[in-house]
């Protein structure tokens, strides 16, 4: 049985300026593997991820024919059951990590709070675990970062703190929304290795949302390509560079290369019928 299965997910916002259909019929299943989601800015990747945790704020609405996690019907679960799932069993690394951290609580307290309340660790043990988690994501001076306020972190440090925080309770499913977009290549490689180990050794399921095609092609097992709220293509990650959908092909052509020409980058030709709503 798969860890997560989603059938015909739709996310709709009724705003004063009209209806926005952010997700329009997305279906997929996830095992204990690395599933990538790529796609255009605004195509519904984040809303798809947040829907799994039922974290869509009103007036947003989630509808689906099925949304099941490890046998649990997420559409029918009570808010209380959802709260028990979020964190220990399903976690999400948010796209704007510094915004998602509590701005008026020091990083150390945010990292240790769950360990103390949920796992009933003493202050010293919780602190030790938190520092280890920061070291694992290549934070150079974890002692200082424990005492820092979120606004004192660099962009990439905020991302890594958020990853450390989400991994501490050992979730079965991690949804990582652009988790490494602010990291230089060498630190990024270390962080990906941690995620990879968790999938391989602990059987965690990973949804890896990213706009970085090269990264997804190397790191994931399977990739969903989204466009305007729909999945337009599903490919084995290794075959992404040979993708057939015109959107995916177009994306590949737009990437700059080291030593490439200085002329304007090719932009996506949206005149095809595929691009119509």
């Amino acid at each position: 049985m798969s860890l997560l299965s989603v059938k015909n997910l739709r996310v709709t916002f009724d705003t004063e300026a009209g209806r926005v259909e952010a997700v329009r019929g997305v279906s997929f299943t996830l095992g204990r593997e690395r599933l990538g989601i790529v796609g255009e800015s605004g195509s519904g990747k984040t809303m798809t991820g947040r829907s799994m945790l039922r974290l869509i704020r009103p007036p947003g609405r989630i509808e689906a024919d099925e949304m099941r996690f490890d046998g649990i019907d997420l559409l029918r679960a009570s808010e209380r059951e959802m709260r028990a799932l979020r964190g220990p069993r399903m976690a999400m690394v948010m796209q704007d990590p510094k915004y998602s951290l509590n701005p008026v609580m020091k990083v150390g307290r945010q990292l240790t709070e769950g360990l103390r309340l949920r796992d009933r660790l003493g202050a010293g043990d919780a602190r030790k675990k938190a520092i280890e988690a920061l070291q694992a994501v290549q934070i150079r001076d974890p002692e200082r970062v424990m005492e820092a306020w979120p606004h004192e972190l660099s962009g990439g440090m905020g991302q890594r703190v958020m990853i450390a925080m989400m991994l501490i309770p050992n979730p079965d499913l991690l949804i990582a929304d652009e988790p490494t977009s602010a990291l230089d290549v060498t630190v990024q490689a270390e962080v990906l290795k941690i995620l990879d180990d968790l999938v391989k050794t602990r059987g965690m399921g990973l949804i890896f949302i990213s706009h970085d095609l090269r990264l997804v092609a190397r790191f994931c097992d399977r990739v969903l390509v989204m466009y305007k709220g729909r999945v337009v293509e599903e490919v084995q990650a290794g075959n992404l560079m040979a993708a057939r959908h015109p959107y995916t092909r177009g994306l590949l052509n737009c990437l700059p290369r080291i030593g490439g020409p200085r002329e304007p980058l090719p932009s996506l030709d949206r005149s095809g019928t595929w691009a119509e709503a």
């Binding site: 916002f13 705003t15 004063e16 300026a17 009209g18 790529v38 796609g39 255009e40 800015s41 605004g42 990747k45 984040t46 796209q95 704007d96 510094k98 915004y99 290549q138 150079r140 200082r144 005492e147 820092a148 606004h151 004192e152 660099s154 962009g155 990439g156 440090m157 905020g158 929304d177 652009e178 977009s181 602010a182 990291l183 230089d184 290549v185 060498t186 630190v187 990024q188 490689a189 706009h211 090269r214 092609a217 190397r218 560079m241 177009g250 994306l251 590949l252 737009c254 990437l255 700059p256 290369r257 080291i258 030593g259 490439g260 200085r262 304007p264 980058l265 090719p266 932009s267 996506l268």
Partner: protein
């Protein structure tokens, strides 16, 4: 004379009982109409350099001059007409309770620029956002849409210098290409000067004439574009970054 002159800049933060030396003794010069890149380890002080120029981080040592003039504190209206910054973290740089319309038109009002409506619509078009986005709030946008609003806002006053902190890190390849093309076109047409941070060496290579590699708050090595592309770096950290990046350039892409 270079347009932006940074001499031995140090930025120290007072964080409780310790001092964080975010930038130590960094010097760089950016000529008028040049595009200069900053790359390096996460936490190495790249954003702090841009923030110090804008007066948002303390200059603890060294000097920053623009057009030969030392910077005034506070920076003032003249500075913001001339220098604009696109922040790494668009969420925290956009006012949560202001519509996009207000965010984009406010700088015009402050500087007494007219024709607001048409300018706002054009600014949104420039970053490939539909004009209907005007009436939304930041939380009603996707991450990349917010980043594009931040770019549009920086362009509203037609500044001469753009400080760009990871301007396309939240954008997919197609929107990134359109945004980079827009920035390059504006630079050519209006003679803009860029100081730009990115962790993506391919983006830096495409956009910048020279690049400074940073690590632990210090400048490690400055490279001209040709030397970057030909892997003619001399320090091991710059080489590590290059190798790890080159490794990611998949065949056929």
């Amino acid at each position: 004379m270079a347009l932006i002159e940074i001499d031995n800049l140090s930025v120290h933060f007072d964080a409780g009982d310790r001092i964080v030396k975010a930038v130590q003794d960094v010097s760089l010069q950016v000529a008028a109409r040049e595009s200069y890149g900053l790359v390096g380890e996460s936490g190495s002080g790249k954003s702090t350099i841009l923030r110090a120029i804008c007066g948002l981080a303390p200059i603890s040592g060294g000097t920053v001059r623009i057009g030969g003039e030392p910077l005034k504190t506070p920076r003032g209206k003249g500075f913001s007409a001339r220098v604009q910054m696109v922040f790494q973290d668009p969420y925290s740089s956009l006012h949560p309770r202001h519509t996009i319309d207000r965010t984009l038109s406010e700088p015009l009002a402050i500087h007494g620029v007219g024709n607001t409506d048409a300018r706002v619509v054009q600014a949104l078009r420039d970053v490939a956002l539909d004009p209907t986005f005007r009436f939304r709030f930041p939380h009603q946008l996707s991450g990349g849409q917010r980043q594009r609003v931040a770019i549009a806002r920086a362009l509203m006053l037609q500044p001469e210098i753009l400080l760009l902190d990871e301007p396309t890190s939240a954008l997919d390849a197609s929107v990134q290409a359109e945004t980079l093309n827009l920035l390059n076109r504006l630079r050519a047409e209006r003679g803009l000067t860029f100081l730009m941070v990115s962790h993506d060496l391919a983006v830096i290579d495409h956009m910048c004439d020279r690049v400074l590699v940073m690590q632990h708050g210090r400048a490690v090595e400055e490279l001209a574009r040709d030397d970057l592309a030909a892997a003619r770096m001399t320090t091991s950290y710059a080489r590590t970054l290059f190798d790890a990046s080159a490794d990611r350039m998949l065949d056929g892409a």
